[in-house]
Symmetry: C2
Subunit: 328 residues, 2 copies
């Protein structure tokens, strides 16, 4: 029997989950829920209903796992605890500082509803977190490094769009090769913000806007750009659409550490992602953890979990026996 998946929120991430479900033979899409008028939302899968979020209660027995595809700023802090009372849920809550608080709320709600809630699933938090944990457990004496990119930062792109005279913009976060190489060489460098990443901006100006003024305003913007070496390119609207409409991302998690009686041996553990589509990759991780939620629930588990709490085998459609035979 297939795992019946519900999608709540149909933006880039929701559409990514829809695609991921199609790639997993043991899953099927049951319904998509939206705050918009369902009639206005066209999904890719045939014969699957788009429903009003208010009607979700009616689906209580027809959905095994609800994948929450809202944003971390305002949607998920409300939605995940609310829906964890009704469904097994998986979310990609990514406000690192607020994870403990979110965990506590989801845990209480999921226990009340006797459901499983898996939070902060994706790649950071998510796969990057897992790699930090494994590497720290293996090499207790060492240093961690995380680099992001090359990839599009939505937040930084939005910040540029708010500058007067800017019509549209896209910002790429780029790891500095020299810093990455220093880490790989075991130099254990102390790296400032500026030394780790650069920021590259592609900006479409409003007609008659002052390019020099816009560039200055971007480069000196506190928090977003002032601590970085920032490059600004002015391009046409057509070029932005043609060359910069993708949502690529990725990054690197490294840990360098020492072993030996006199700490005479160095080791480097490196994990990296190069993603054409940030939301589709995140969605693919969500789908794998939806499978885990379903299986944990079958074992009678309830409450909140993170990627740290879930044995890897739960993510795979293969049996333990097959995994040991083919992948160990």
């Amino acid at each position: 029997m297939s795992i019946r998946i519900g999608i709540l929120g149909y933006g880039n991430l929701g559409r990514g989950v829809e695609c991921a479900v199609r790639q997993n033979d043991d899953m099927e899409l049951a319904a998509v829920f939206t705050r918009r008028d369902p009639g206005s939302v066209k999904i890719l899968t045939e014969d699957v209903p788009v429903c009003r979020i208010e009607d979700v209660q009616e689906w209580k027995d027809r959905i095994d796992v609800m994948i929450l595809c809202g944003g971390s700023a305002t949607d998920l802090p409300e939605q995940t605890p609310a829906f964890a009372k009704l469904f097994h849920v998986v979310d990609s809550f990514d406000t690192h500082a607020k994870i403990p608080e979110h965990y506590a709320k989801v845990d209480a709600a999921a226990k009340e509803g006797r459901k499983v809630g898996i939070i902060s699933v994706g790649w950071d938090p998510g796969m990057f977190s897992l790699n930090r944990l494994y590497a720290n457990a293996i090499l207790p004496e060492g240093r961690d490094y995380t680099f992001w990119g090359k990839g599009v930062s939505q937040g930084h792109s939005d910040a540029i769009r708010r500058v007067e005279g800017v019509k549209d913009a896209k910002q790429y976060t780029i790891p500095v090769d020299a810093a990455l190489e220093a880490v790989r060489n075991g130099e254990n460098p102390e790296l400032t913000t500026r030394q780790k990443h650069t920021r590259e901006c592609f900006v479409v100006l409003e007609e008659g806007a002052d390019a020099a003024k816009v560039e200055e305003e971007i480069k000196t913007m506190p928090n977003y750009f002032s601590d970085y070496d920032t490059t600004v390119h002015f391009i046409s609207e057509e070029e932005l659409k043609e060359k910069h409409s993708g949502i690529p991302h990725g990054g690197f998690v490294l840990r360098s550490g020492k072993t030996g009686w006199d700490k005479e041996n160095s080791h480097l553990i490196e994990y990296s992602l190069k993603l054409d589509s940030n939301p589709e990759f995140t969605a693919s991780v969500l789908a794998a953890y939806a499978r885990a939620a379903y299986r944990l629930a079958e074992e009678g588990v309830s409450g909140c979990r993170t990627v740290f709490d879930i044995a890897p085998a739960y993510l795979s459609a293969k049996s333990g026996e097959e995994l040991r035979k083919t992948m160990l």
Copy 2:
């Protein structure tokens, strides 16, 4: 209270575990067991006894987890099932094809003794296996690649030493950069054995030996070298000792896969290790899984487990709360 660790077998791996235990504050070394005369075995830790393997039964209540540091060819197939009746055990059994059989034996023994047995812990099998599983679960449509090296292959070094006229030798397995790059570029190449790795040999000749003949014999050796591009360097005994006495290793696990409704987006997941000391890194992984064995046992678990079956949080000395706060 510390986790009391026993080491069975005191070669490179056993010594590595001794060093790893010292780096983990929640562990202490209780005793080392050897088949040799204990009086002839000098360990690094002060005030820890070296005991005869025959006396292991006396330690039943004084050791929490026994880490088995024997070889996969003849030691572990016997030892792990035997000792899993008496202790929680962790081994690094690495004969991939025989893992299912080993698992079954250890599972039966551990259940009989109500112990936890974790097998095939290290980096391949081990961390590489984990990365294969995670990457396959996330990207169901894609291809896997594993490259080993640059590193010393003990088996290949031994094979060279058996050639007539060879006094000593060291063999390095080296991944082919062009192949790695093709995978990273998403070309999904079909790679032959020869295209994936080269083999580099450093050989000390016996006096009067025929270098050309030795080189020919190495390069044409079936299974070991005939399918590879092999380079042979003849060097002095001093140079071999000076430049080639380390046991470095490492490698790469990659999965490239597609997502999207029309599979229009490509993704690359890459995990790599660069290790100064193969046995010390393996030992460090064993120590982390010894912690997991101890904790699983505290929860009443018994039977055989692999890295696939163990939630990552069990490997860390930190609490779930602390992990969520600092690493997620």
